[in-house]
């Protein structure tokens, strides 16, 4: 069996990528299983998706603990403990990261083991598809290439899955073309099919009684909202040009995170630590006063 784990942020296409891979494997006659795992749906939050490919019935479900291939749609997830990217990754795991850096550059910046390979899918999507977030087909193609599926089945799977999402035929075709380039250009790393060591029985622990102050679920507001930064979620940031703003407050009304406030002069201000980069404000701005800049590791912290 081959096990592929996708990490992305809500809206980036990790789930669709896992389905493209599952469908492509199914089309090649394999038994396939794909599933996403997320909490309350929220654009920008870490999500994971799993694809298993086998020749016999699959006796596993849910989270993939020992992936053969990890596909990371957003490099910032590698620093986010909530994303659980390092889980089960060892020296033999192939790790693909959507990043403009080379595998060597990336490997030198992280303690994550594994055999790295990279391609700047976001850059390619921006350049060739003119879309900021549409990388699901590219992720699926890269995963298919690395796991050894054929280009034709990937192409057909992209058509099926993107049609399911309601994309128009010309857009699907462009995705297929760009995905084919990514399939060809992603630096290949051989998947190690060596047997894993059997796992030992884990020590179980029966919790002891705690008084309800501790043993009942409750949470103080502080760490859950005000001091929680979501800056790391952004692939792109909205930037306001006050000279173009007509003060209509549509951005303020549409921000799902309450990250936009209105200053005494009636103009909006973006509080970046709470902005997750969904760009809903950019979509609704009638005067194009909000523009988009791509984030880098340096700008995200600023």
């Amino acid at each position: 069996m081959r096990a592929v784990r996708f990490h992305g942020r809500g809206g980036q296409g990790a789930k669709t990528a896992s389905r493209i891979l599952g469908t492509a494997a199914f089309l090649e006659g394999f038994v396939a299983q794909d599933s996403p795992m997320y909490g309350p749906e929220r654009r920008g939050a870490p999500v994971a998706a799993f694809t298993r490919i086998a020749q016999t019935p699959i006796r596993e479900r849910g989270v993939i603990v020992h992936p053969d291939l990890v596909v990371i749609a957003d490099a910032s997830l590698m620093q986010d403990p909530a994303a659980h990217v390092p889980e089960g990754v060892d020296e033999r795991t192939v790790v693909f990261v959507n990043s403009p850096l080379t595998a060597e550059q990336l490997q030198s910046q992280t303690s994550l083991p594994g055999r790295f390979t990279t391609l700047d899918l976001t850059g390619i999507a921006l350049q060739q598809l003119g879309k900021r977030t549409a990388i699901s087909a590219l992720l699926g193609a890269v995963a298919g290439s690395l796991i050894g599926l054929g280009q034709e089945s990937i192409r057909e799977a992209i058509a099926r899955e993107l049609a399911e999402l309601g994309l128009a035929a010309p857009m699907i075709e462009r995705n297929q073309t760009v995905a084919a380039q990514c399939y060809e250009t992603v630096p290949r790393v051989a998947i190690d099919v060596g047997l894993r060591r059997p796992t030992a029985p884990v020590p179980l622990r029966t919790p002891t009684y705690d008084p309800p102050t501790r043993g009942a679920a409750s949470i103080t507001a502080g760490p859950n909202s005000a001091i929680r930064s979501m800056a790391g979620w952004r692939t792109f940031r909205p930037v306001l040009r006050p000279d173009l703003c007509n003060g209509c407050w549509l951005c303020f009304a549409n921000c799902p995170e309450g990250a936009i406030t209105i200053k005494p002069d009636g103009k909006p201000a973006i509080y970046y630590p709470h902005c997750k980069g969904c760009l809903d404000c950019v979509e609704v701005c009638p005067t194009d006063a909000l523009t988009v800049e791509r984030e880098t590791a340096a700008t995200r912290e600023a």
Partner: protein, 409 residues
């Protein structure tokens, strides 16, 4: 073979479509919503000739479902978790009406605390309602079970509503290859619904579920529900044979996996039984003689089939994905009860509580189950209930408690 990649939810919707239902009352709830979404699209574009109605709550939804079935319509609906509980009063009521509709429950653990991921406290809470219960392991089994459910429900020996259960996330959002039965085959398997005791004529009004006092009348009618439910064991058997003849797939009330020479047996239900089978394979590879018994039909309780599968074993472990506070695992109690009179009953009966709120059950945890169960069998003494919860998970829990407490403690 007409197979495709399909989620458990879509497979459930296909079950309703292939059964050619007439009426679908709906109310959304995660992780069930995709079922009624698919049905609303099909009702809208005419590929399913049924009336789709959204209601204001699950309570109204189940009432509408029962009422529509009482007029002689074939009815399908679906819910999950809190939604099932909101409909609870109506479950008992319409079972007493003896209306053979199918309700899909997509298991999701109950509040509080609130979550979206599955365990079986929702569906098992309804075990005394009079609904039959079929619990599915795979997406294929979801669509097949819905077709079997209609046939069993509508049989004159039964005439009870059926709940078909699938796990949230692990089936509901998981795609795997599903082969849809041919509609012509379904027509042969599932003849049109022509109930003799139901129907509506304006010229001949009658009431269902009328008031009865004094207890004896009530006892008679409630016991009729019990007998109808027990009849479903035989009707299920007949439906299995016919379904296998037409579709080539066989489903019994319980499923044995590598039981033939097994000393110790692990009992599971639903989607995680796939993981249990994988764990059995791994343990077998190391020389352990273990097997798995999957309970597919929970109501009626297939006591004879369970006894037969377990007699003469060294030890049996019941893995409950539910917790009855102050008691333990629900299925453990029922398994224990039906083994009491068995002369060759296992030397040890062990209770494990796992997968609550969708918690993964790791290979290491399965290994711990097999080790402890074997030891209990050797000692001749049962154990449990033991919570599947690890040292590593507890360390993470403690960190979360620090965060939740405002970083004070």
């Amino acid at each position: 073979m007409n197979a495709d990649m399909m989620t458990g939810n879509l497979a459930a919707a296909w079950g309703a479509r292939l059964a050619d239902v007439d009426y679908v009352p709906a109310f959304p709830i995660t992780p069930q919503t995709e079922i009624v979404e698919a049905l609303s699209v099909w009702c809208g574009n005419g590929s399913l000739n049924a009336r789709f109605v959204t209601l204001d709550s699950e309570h109204s939804m189940m009432t509408a479902a029962g009422a529509a079935a009482a007029t002689g319509a074939r009815v399908f609906t679906a819910t999950s978790s809190q939604g099932l509980l909101h409909a609870f009063e109506v479950l008992y009521t319409i079972a007493g009406w003896r209306v053979p509709l199918v309700l899909v429950n997509v298991s999701r653990a109950l509040a509080s605390p609130i979550t979206l991921e599955p365990d079986h406290n929702d569906v098992l809470a309804a075990r005394d309602s009079g609904f039959l219960q079929i619990h599915a392991e795979t997406c294929q089994e979801v669509v097949d079970s819905i077709l079997m459910a209609y046939r069993i429900a509508e049989d004159p020996r039964v005439c009870l509503p059926v709940m078909v259960n699938l796990d949230g996330f692990y089936l509901s959002f998981t795609r795997e290859p599903v082969s849809l039965p041919d509609p012509k085959m379904v027509q042969a398997f599932l003849p049109p619904f022509r109930p003799t005791h139901l129907g509506f004529k304006a010229s001949a009004p009658h009431a269902l579920g009328t008031a009865v006092f004094g207890g004896a009348t009530y006892s008679y009618f409630r016991h009729q529900i019990h007998l109808a439910s027990m009849n479903a064991l035989q009707v299920h058997e007949e439906a299995s044979v016919e379904f296998e003849r037409l579709c080539g797939r066989r489903y019994d009330v319980v499923e044995g996996y590598r039981l033939d020479d097994a000393e110790d047996v692990l009992i599971m239900t639903n989607a995680f039984a796939s993981k249990g089978k994988g764990a059995v394979d791994a343990a077998r590879a190391e020389g352990r003689r273990v097997g798995l018994l999957r309970l597919r039909m929970i109501r009626p309780w297939p006591a004879d089939a369970i006894r037969q599968a377990l007699q003469g074993r060294r030890a049996v472990a019941v893995l409950d994905q539910n917790l009855s506070p102050g008691q333990g695992g629900i299925l453990f109690q029922e398994v224990a009860a039906c083994l009491y009179h068995e002369a060759l009953r296992p030397r040890a009966l062990c209770s494990f509580i796992g997968g609550l709120g969708g918690k993964n059950i790791s290979e290491g945890e399965f290994r711990a189950i097999f080790e402890q169960t074997a030891e209990a069998g050797i000692n001749g003494q049962g154990i449990g209930p033991i919570l599947l919860y690890t040292e590593a998970e507890h360390r993470e829990m403690v960190q979360l408690q620090v965060l939740a407490g405002g970083l004070k403690s």
